[in-house]
């Protein structure tokens, strides 16, 4: 079984919601769409207060090289463009829409039929992905079209589709593989044309045998697409680890995967690509898992962006002793500080942790057991990096390779002294990179 070689852990899988079909979440009465839904610069609004918009109409334009368009997920009136606190309490510019009905813009094909034939050319596909504001739905929200702006001297040899879903609890990619396999594979084909790669490899962890079987069956009609079962090990779905596992190549430190002829995309992103390329439908929805140990009414939802998180949670019913709500997986996700915030692109799950799970253990001294070193998939030494960042010695941090940290959290997970290793390293990483930026001038 293929896997990355160094480090890795195996947390409890807790994939409770893998049998539950994806439901469409009902439209809210009022929605708030943040203007920074992607990595990079926030978008600029192109609508004004009082404007009437249709579903799929452009409401904010991409800014800068790394940016993505935002389209209205609702038909209604723009109530205001104002600062609204986001999930972490920071105020962000947002467009508030009063939802009136569900009338789609005319240029979008809203039929449910599967459209296999791709008629667009390479450049047209990339342009369409850019127009439709597609970002990576794996969590980082990197604008997808930027990945396909391949430098002249580089050639894509492999397109890798990340369907590992190594984070515990989350099952949305799993459900997409079972329910929307046909659509997603057309999306993969579109990406194959866009990248010019001869082959696409879909990496899936072997804890999803039904998904592997189903995808293999569907993929039989596409000779360019191959399914690669992977060992169940965290973080199998981290970009660099996935590349190592699937094609046994290593991305050089500080470089992008394109350096070794690889592009990686998330599986659910392929669904968005399919809808953009074949149906002209922009990215206005996110697919998310709502799960938790104490939660009985677990769900896989198809949610329009801008839906209130509180509303989603009220729909499933928050268990009494919920201590924490996490956006994203339990390993890499962030705890939500403000539930009166709104769903964004790439929000892949909402996890409800009970009181006991939410609390961290008492921090003890480092006993030099080396478990973090063994767990680190990047071959770093977290027990050295954490105190170095804590003591603000960013020169040494750089020397010990802090910038290679992929923030997977395996070190904090494996620490028997409950030291907040990743927290310290993450801070050190951002300070180190700003130090390097300042040095370059």
């Amino acid at each position: 079984m293929k896997s990355f070689k160094i480090g890795g852990i195996h947390p409890e899988e807790n994939k409770f919601s893998k049998e539950i079909t994806v439901e469409v979440f009902p439209l809210p009465k009022q929605a708030t769409i943040y203007l920074n839904q992607n990595l990079g610069a926030p978008s600029t609004p192109v609508v004004n207060k009082g404007d009437v918009v249709k579903v799929g109409q452009l409401i904010a334009k991409a800014e800068g090289f790394i940016g993505a368009n935002i389209h209205s997920p609702y038909a209604g009136t723009i109530q205001s463009i104002d600062l609204v606190p986001d999930a972490f309490g920071f105020k962000k510019n947002a467009i508030v829409i009063n939802v009136e009905n569900d009338e789609w813009a005319e240029h979008i094909d809203t039929s449910k039929d599967l459209k296999k034939e791709i008629t667009l050319s390479k450049a047209e596909i990339i342009e369409r992905i850019k127009e439709c504001g597609i970002v990576g739905l794996g969590g980082a929200c990197f604008p997808t079209h930027v990945k396909y702006m391949i430098p002249e001297n580089k050639k894509v040899e492999f397109l890798i589709i990340n369907a590992a879903e190594c984070e515990p609890y989350i099952t949305i990619d799993h459900r997409m593989m079972l329910e929307r396999a046909e659509e997603c594979l057309v999306g993969v084909n579109a990406l194959l044309i866009a990248s010019g790669a001869p082959k696409a490899l879909i990496g899936i962890e072997n804890n999803k045998p039904d998904a592997i079987a189903h995808l293999t069956k569907v993929a039989a009609q596409y000779p360019k697409i191959e399914i690669v079962p992977l060992k169940t090990k965290y973080p199998q779905g981290a970009e660099k680890q996935l590349i190592k596992a699937v094609v046994n190549r290593e991305v050089p430190s500080g470089k992008l995967p394109i350096e070794i002829g690889v592009i990686v995309n998330n599986f659910t992103t392929c669904h968005a690509v399919y809808e953009a390329v074949q149906k002209n439908k922009p990215l206005i929805e996110t697919f998310l898992t709502v799960s938790g140990k104490k939660l009985t009414n677990r769900k896989n939802y198809q949610v329009r962006i801008g839906t209130s998180i509180q509303e989603i949670l009220d729909h499933v019913g928050i268990p009494e002793d919920t201590g924490k709500v996490i956006s994203g997986g339990p390993m890499m996700g962030k705890a939500i500080a403000n539930l009166n915030s709104f769903a964004v692109k790439g929000m892949s799950s909402l996890l409800l942790m009970d009181q006991k799970e939410s609390k961290r253990g008492e921090i003890e001294n480092c006993i030099r057991c080396g478990k973090c070193v063994k767990a680190c998939p990047m071959g770093l030494e977290p027990f050295i990096l954490a105190p170095l960042s804590d003591k603000k010695d960013y020169e040494s941090c750089e020397k010990f390779g802090i910038l290679d940290c992929c923030e997977c959290g395996s070190c904090s997970f494996s620490c028997p002294s409950y030291r907040p290793l990743l927290d310290m390293i993450r801070l050190g990483k951002s300070k180190t990179s700003s130090m390097i930026k300042a040095r370059k001038g």
Binding site: L83, P85, G89, K91, N338, P420, R426, L427
Partner: protein
């Protein structure tokens, strides 16, 4: 063991030591760095805390700069204060530049009671990290996070975390205004201000630039930018920018009109005697009772 071995070893090692000493003596003469003895003398009179408040790397750095400049213009040791600077002026034989004593003030008063927590933070105890994660337990994204980065950097034992309010408290006696806390706070909540006449000073204890309504939602004592203080001030000392008032200490005459005018009590007065009118009311109340 033969005694000769010991004698031989001593002779050889002693010889090497002697030759090295002679070589080192001449090298030291040849490469001697001429340094003004004044630098040593000045450095001895500085506090030696190496706090960096003067802007130079350590006390010796400042001593070096003072001696090189030959005057005290623009050079000041905030930790030592005017006593130290007068002594140094005597050593150099120049006129002392007297600067007013300063102190750090916290521009936040969001205590646990006045700005109740809406979420609970349980991670690395560092404000620098917490500031990247979320807005703060109260929801105010400008206020104190309460993890104590400022307390950790203070070299003069002048900052303590109040366990009840979860806000740092500046000690009047110990704070020298070195500015280490100003640099450490990720929310830029500290300001170095003049201690003022009789240690009396007035400042706005808030850094929230949100619109009034939203600011008040998160914190009872937030500045809402209502400009009442600007209108009442007879000395043009107060300005409101971005929904936040600021009192210019050079213009403020400590009349305290703004303190009573402020509807959210975010303007603080320090070390003033209780107001007479207030006393009168209390006396009346007592008399009634």
């Amino acid at each position: 063991m033969d005694i000769n071995f010991i004698l031989l070893a001593s002779a050889v090692l002693g010889g090497i030591a002697l030759i090295s000493a002679i070589i080192l003596f001449f090298i030291a003469k040849a490469f001697k760095v001429e340094e003004d003895p004044l630098i040593d003398e000045v450095a001895e009179n500085l506090p030696g805390a190496n706090c960096g408040g003067c802007g130079y790397p350590g006390c010796r750095g400042l001593a070096d700069a003072i001696v090189k400049a030959g005057s005290l213009e623009g050079l000041n040791c905030p930790a030592g204060g005017s006593d130290t600077m007068t002594r140094i002026a005597e050593i150099l034989g120049v006129t002392p530049v007297v600067s007013d004593p300063v102190i750090a003030v916290l521009k936040c008063n969001g205590t646990c009671e006045l700005a109740p927590a809406k979420s609970f933070y349980d991670s690395a105890l560092s404000c620098a990290y917490a500031a990247t994660l979320f807005s703060g337990e109260s929801g105010c994204q400008y206020g104190c996070l309460g993890c104590g980065d400022c307390v950790n950097v203070c070299k003069f034992d002048a900052l303590k975390m109040d366990p009840v309010t979860k806000l740092p408290v500046v000690s009047e006696e110990n704070c020298v205004g070195c500015g280490a806390c100003v640099k450490a706070c990720p929310r830029l909540l500290f300001e170095i201000r003049k201690k003022g006449i009789k240690n009396r000073r007035i400042y706005v204890a808030c850094s929230n630039i949100d619109k009034g309504g939203y600011a008040k939602k998160n914190c009872d004592v937030a500045c809402i930018g209502c400009s009442k203080c600007v209108k009442v001030c007879a000395f043009d000392a107060i300005t409101v920018n971005n929904n936040l008032a600021y009192i210019d200490e050079t213009k403020c005459k400590l009349c305290r009109k703004c303190v009573t005018e402020c509807p959210t009590n975010c303007i603080h007065e320090v070390n003033f005697p209780p107001k007479k009118e207030v006393k009168a009311v209390e006396e009346v109340m007592e008399a009634v009772n």
